[in-house]
């Protein structure tokens, strides 16, 4: 099951679908998303074909706790972008049941204003076992919309708690939603989701406590001791962006905005902030750095997935089962068992027999 094989007769019909999708045909776009979501050689073939056309869209992540108003806000954001003359792609992720493998994808319920707009494309995705707030194929689905020419793509994560931070690695601009009365200041200074915010929105700002929540978040940002030339854990001073204005620097303090998504208030200001962030990222060269980081992360992940796949092809189901039995019986620990399987599969050129070590 190599990528080369994927380009063969098996997926010959895809070239036509790809061409129509790149032309903006919505049926073809929907089909391609299904293909990349299913994975396998056909997905690799599609990605190889569309990849040169990607990298043009502004990817905006929207994350926050379940019920914080993500879908409703995305609905309003899409309307605002349309008022500004831009087409919008939306990927909305909801969780897959770990028991049945099924899912209920309900984000469309809140997006009813935009579902019939021919300039907006909405796709619901189930996580299919991925943790971190996105589906494994979210990035690839986004690429389909990017290649099809959507200039703005809004990516709504699953209801996130404190550690579903994958979106920040992937999106250019990450919006984190908070709601009033959702914990004290200690919640705000814990590590996690607030740290990934490029923009913080206190949604449901018509509720009591919104001003306090915004003030606590501002205070949290004041405490920020990370040097201002750091971004997402990386120093960015080594960048020398062409023509960048050093006085505007590489610093970005996440603005804290108040919004009421249900009424649409605060949304134009939010879109202004998102656009401002993107502009600053490009001007300072940070966007380029983040793109390299993201691609490296993705390459490493793809390598580990491919290696696992190749490894499993060289082993039988019985090999795996035997290893599991040995671990359950405490005859072997999981690390040694994994090592042994890698050696057995012939993927470790320097492999020693782990049983001799034991």
């Amino acid at each position: 099951m190599s990528a080369v094989q994927g380009a063969g007769s098996d997926t010959a019909g895809l070239g036509d679908v790809v061409a129509r999708a790149l032309d903006g045909n919505r049926r073809a776009i929907a089909k391609l998303i299904t293909v990349v979501e299913q994975g396998g050689p056909a997905a690799q073939d599609v990605l190889a074909r569309i990849y040169p056309q990607t990298g043009r869209a502004h990817l905006v992540g929207v994350t926050g706790a379940p019920g914080s108003g993500k879908s409703t806000l995305v609905n309003e954001m899409a309307k605002e972008y349309r008022r500004r003359g831009l087409d919008v792609g939306i990927i909305a992720v909801d969780p897959t049941s770990p028991f049945s493998g099924g899912a209920i994808l309900g984000d469309r319920i809140r997006m009813r204003d935009v579902v019939t707009d021919a300039h907006i494309f909405i796709r619901s995705m189930a996580t299919r076992g991925s943790l971190g707030g996105l589906a494994r194929a979210t990035a690839d689905a986004t690429r389909v919309l990017d290649a099809a020419g959507y200039p703005v793509i809004l990516i709504e994560t699953v209801g996130a708690g404190q550690s579903e931070v994958e979106i920040a690695r992937f999106a250019h601009t990450t919006v984190v939603l908070q709601v009033p009365a959702s914990g004290d200041e200690i919640q705000a200074i814990k590590a996690g989701i607030l740290e990934i915010a490029d923009i913080i929105v206190v949604n449901k700002a018509d509720l009591p406590g919104a001003d306090n929540a915004a003030a606590a978040l501002e205070a949290m940002l004041d405490l920020n001791s990370i040097p201002s030339d750091w971004h997402h854990g990386r120093r960015v001073t080594q960048l020398e962006p062409a023509g960048s204005d050093q006085s505007t620097a590489q610093t970005w303090r996440p603005p804290v905005l108040k919004a009421c998504a249900l009424r649409g208030t605060g949304v134009p200001e939010l879109v202004d902030a998102i656009e401002g962030h993107w502009e600053q990222q490009q001007r300072s060269g940070v966007s380029r750095l983040r793109e390299h980081e993201r691609v490296e992360g993705e390459l490493r992940e793809t390598l580990s997935r491919s290696l696992l796949h190749d490894l499993l092809l060289r082993l039988s189901a019985a090999d795996l089962k035997d290893a599991v039995d040995r671990i359950v019986a405490r005859q072997q620990d999981p690390y040694s068992a994994a090592r042994a399987l890698i050696v057995q599969a012939g993927l470790d050129p320097n492999g020693k027999d782990p049983f001799q070590e034991a």
């Binding site: 396998g40 469309r108 579902v115 909405i122 619901s124």
Partner: protein, 133 residues
């Protein structure tokens, strides 16, 4: 390894607001391992067809208890056909008088499920028609 799931759109067209049945079916299909896109109430035929297209679903299930099925179903069918989606499996659940069943079938409705239909039957029919997981 291809990760293939049956995708189902569950929608309530028209003005009727009784969505318990739709939710029960959505939940049942989820528990059978399908991905269910639930659109909620008051969907127009246009909204349903747009969602079916963008979500690339295998199945569209309409929940109708208002008695408007004879006027709404043909419009949904027309909107689906307009978008070249005539291969999508269409089923209807709710209160459907026996005498309407033949005409609905003629319009292309594959499954018609009244009160008391076991969920397993709907799951089984979908699997048979769609022909995978």
């Amino acid at each position: 390894m291809a990760d293939i799931k049956i995708r189902v759109l569950i929608a309530k067209p028209g003005l009727d607001g009784h969505d318990r049945g739709a939710k029960v079916v959505a939940r049942g299909l989820r528990d059978a391992g399908m991905e269910v896109i639930y659109t909620g109430l008051h969907q127009t035929p246009e909204m349903i067809a747009q969602a079916a297209l963008q979500e690339d679903v295998d199945v569209v299930g309409l929940s109708m208890l208002s008695g408007a099925h004879m006027s709404i179903v043909p419009r949904v069918v027309a909107k689906l056909e307009e978008r070249d989606l005539q291969d999508v499996l269409l089923f209807v659940g709710g209160i459907i008088p026996d005498e309407d069943v033949p005409s609905l079938r003629e319009m292309g409705v594959k499954g018609i499920y009244g009160p008391g239909t076991p969920l397993e039957q709907i799951v089984q029919d979908i699997r048979t028609e769609v022909g995978s997981p």
